[in-house]
Subunit: 468 residues, 2 copies
Amino acid sequence: MSLPSNSLLLMPVIDLHLPESLLFAPPPILAVVAAENAPILLTGVLLSLVIIYLASKIGAEISQYLNFPPVLGELVSGVIVGVSAFDWIVFADSDLPATESGVMFVLQWIYHISPAIATNVFESQSEVISVLAELGVIILLFEIGLESDLRQLKAVGVQAVVVACVGVAVPFAAGTAGLMVIFHVAAIPAIFAGAALTATSIGITSKVLSELGQLNSTEGQIIVGAAVIDDVLGIIVLAVVASLAKTGSIDVGNVIYLIFSATAFLLGSILLAGIFNKGFVLIVDTLKTRGNIVIPAFILAFFMAFLGNAIHLEAILGAFAAGLVLDETDARNELDGLVKPVADLLVPIFFVTVGAQADLGVLNPADPANWGGLLVAGFLITIAIVGKLVTGWVVFGKPKINRLAIGIGMIPRGEVGLVFAGIGAASGVIDKSLEAAIILMVIVTTFAAPPFLRIAFDRSNIAPSEIE
Amino acid sequence: MSLPSNSLLLMPVIDLHLPESLLFAPPPILAVVAAENAPILLTGVLLSLVIIYLASKIGAEISQYLNFPPVLGELVSGVIVGVSAFDWIVFADSDLPATESGVMFVLQWIYHISPAIATNVFESQSEVISVLAELGVIILLFEIGLESDLRQLKAVGVQAVVVACVGVAVPFAAGTAGLMVIFHVAAIPAIFAGAALTATSIGITSKVLSELGQLNSTEGQIIVGAAVIDDVLGIIVLAVVASLAKTGSIDVGNVIYLIFSATAFLLGSILLAGIFNKGFVLIVDTLKTRGNIVIPAFILAFFMAFLGNAIHLEAILGAFAAGLVLDETDARNELDGLVKPVADLLVPIFFVTVGAQADLGVLNPADPANWGGLLVAGFLITIAIVGKLVTGWVVFGKPKINRLAIGIGMIPRGEVGLVFAGIGAASGVIDKSLEAAIILMVIVTTFAAPPFLRIAFDRSNIAPSEIE
């Protein structure tokens, strides 16, 4: 036979092209294993959820007690229960075998299952928890959309827009260019990491400002307005970058198409909001059975998220648009109250999972092999801080304004930065070291901003200029 | 080369028996496929949820409009979108290939994926929706537990206990014996189907009674009390039967152990409720971050469900016990409001899934091959009706009571019957024909009871004897 010697290596590829009738036949052995494993899988999912909820609540409470944002505690407790430390919540795409997972250890102890079945259950369970985490981030963005008041944006005006645009452009450009030129990172992961530096956390910033009594000062209004705008910009950037990552190549025409379609998707939803709202209120009033508000709202959120994915953008862009749309509904207050417990249950799964999946061990300074990754992390943190600090100096026409406070106020990254890390890692675009660097960047900027913001406002002898 | 001609087909099977070290190594090809597929899987899950929610809401509203319980509409609309009719929501354990699933058809159209990847995504998506449905039934039982007022049980007294016990024992014994003797069904599926006949639906019965203004009559109080008790008995029976099904053999010692442990688990939880409650209130009051009530409640619910599975009983037994425990908490009213939207979102997934998975085509009377299955269904429906009708005549010391109304009031099966069908089918204990027969039994008893109950109360010339 005259087959080339590497024909065997090609066989798995050939297998994928077997006649359809064979491929479509249900694989009997896997199916039987799955049916037997269904209760084991459920037990594993339940145990994982219990651990995730315990970790998130303990982390959030400690963080709150120490005057840091609760989300930071959820992230850090995720790191503790995850692959960096205790290995209780481990995912199949890490390099760890099933036996190293704490949850799987318990399952093996309860059910005396064979290693092969353990691996099977481990993979299925990872997949289920990952989807739950993705539903969590969809609901998170839906809630952020619901809370973003578009009318408020019009009020804060041009100063906030300028601060937001500079605060997105500088870290993105400097981060991407630096990673490519200095650290020779490939273009797509470099763009992804650069994009992760863009979005200021509205939640964290406005909480600290409100504690300092600066929420209604000119500085506070500019910071919050800019944070809302750069969230929107950040989500558009993420949709574009993630879509680039899927195709694997950067084509100028494609980038323009993606930016255009992401913006059109968001603006279109907002322009159609009036029609959506009338329809939504009509439906809610017509329905007589349980869930008359929450089910239509989630049909819209999940359908828009589906649409976002289907047009090769991102599910979270759709969920965010759905939130913006329903933001102005008459039923909004009631809807907020109904979305809250659902978000309380699903969003922590996302934050804990992001922490648990990130292997901060790859940045352990004790191992010289990690020093390169540490340098990258240090670079990202520097750009994240400097890139936002400069925004204070682009505010014009306000000579007495506290420029340092505005710059510092823009520093904390939060949810959206973690969304970048989570989606980047899940899609395999960024490697472990870059993922860990982004998460470290989020942790450092979030920890650092509150104390420095206090100092910046205290140091200035100028009383906070009240909004005119 | 002397390989047999079918050696290629055997390769996947042989692969499963590789040495452990290889099994634990992450399979590179599958892992790559899975990472690429993650967004496709999410798109499929989102589309499935949109279809499930649309179906459940349309079904519930039509059912409500026609004066039938909403849950029946959710079940029937599940049948319509499922394997019996339109094939939109199909599960990998049905005999249908991925291409026949409506959701997969859309995914293939959007992503142009190969048949092999489609099958991979189809299986993962089935698994995720199944776990969501299982979480739905866990939350359903948690909610039923929360709504079951244990103090009310003490009030309705011995009459309700007698009615409940007879109404559980007669259909269970007659159903199981009949299936084994007349239809030669094997012992374990026969016991499973017999057990599915036991539990009256509290929700459906009390809704019809309240419409008739009979909720506070002696008859109404006996019916509702007995329905609460036979729910508890039914869940214990389910836990025991499902556990028997897992081991596959019926050993008298094991049955006694299971009945004892299920009862002890439930009674133990109730006895410890006081301590649980104090601890729960203390925790809720201490926590300062979001989700301070809902997260501890779900930690308890999921942990008890985990425990139920871990001691080889059932997750829903644990969730029900958790609901009973928190039922008497001071924070209960607030908790009810928080659990409601979560239940509104997850419980319909369960009901629609049960309908979608059941292939009512196996009972199509046009095909003579199905006549055996139809006879079984007819038998189950007869036993379900007669076995509850007799309960009216065991009430003692109340000569003027409307015995027929009590008997009819106990007839509608609902959630718990569907739980039996869902769990039985998922674990492979009952075959498609028996699953379809149980679901038909639930539909018929639920449709039939309300009109006959109206007739029974109207016909009696005796005014409803008010409760003393």
